[in-house]
Symmetry: C2
Subunit: 151 residues, 2 copies
Amino acid sequence: MAFEGLSIGEMAERTGLAVSAIRYYEDEGLVAPWRNAAGRRRYQRADLRRLSFIMVAQRFGFTLAQIRTELDRLPRHRAPTKRDWARISAGFRDGLDARIAQLETLRDTLDGCIGCGCLSLQACKLYNPGDAAAEKGAGPRYLLGDRPATM
Amino acid sequence: MAFEGLSIGEMAERTGLAVSAIRYYEDEGLVAPWRNAAGRRRYQRADLRRLSFIMVAQRFGFTLAQIRTELDRLPRHRAPTKRDWARISAGFRDGLDARIAQLETLRDTLDGCIGCGCLSLQACKLYNPGDAAAEKGAGPRYLLGDRPATM
DNA sequence: GTCGGACCTCAAGCACACTTTAGGTCAAGA
DNA sequence: TCTTGACCTAAAGTGTGCTTGAGGTCCGAC
């Protein structure tokens, strides 16, 4: 007997995501359920892992657009294997390492500045990022942490 | 002869901020210029540093609300000294350290998972944050980095 | 047959950090 | 006198990642 697929409600329950969020991910092209005769969404079991991936990737600070890019690299015509996921996770790690390094550089620069209390405009390295946030233009700024522990 | 204060245009030019951003910060209670006879904003020189602080703090991932909290700790009735700024920068550093530590934990957990390629729902530590993003409710999610280098 | 629950769509709302737009004031320079 | 530029206010728009709401379908249980 055939596997009839998981309902959106089951997906929500198993992943902890809200039903609305899962639908939103579909709009954004992150999951692609099929529909049953009644027009209800049906998900493959592999989609559970896709959703999980999204959740984790978000904790790591990636945007949905970036996550979509990663997910698009998964094979379309067969279920992804452990190795597929591992490859993606490794790519992940690189991004994460880069981010940590960036923060550490920032911290070291700050250390150099605490003594002088400068925060002065021309001299201070903190204002001359190099990795110019300026290129970005309008829109929200993606911040560094979820809820900063202390400050 | 008295110091007549800096115009918003001068502030923008010196800090690199947009005029609209500076006005926005005023709405948010981060700077408080006075007005001249014609109703134009006039800024103290010390406000340059306030704005600079905001810019740096944002690079460090703090929200404007958090930055306001820090700025509110500056003395009101005298110009802030080097030491005032240094104290604040140090508080900053603590927050930053916490954030880096958080990311590193996340990375280590990921390392443990890459081998198994698991991303499985019950078992995997990545899904059981502990520091529950779940508490948050609606609203935007603050992400980890500005523009991830690689991924 | 009608009730509840799970699902559907489409549109609007929210938070943050701004920018953009529309419409107006004011002072200096040609 | 007219124009230009810098400034003013208030309101609406932008982008991300959702949620909420309104209004409707579908199916099993009572």
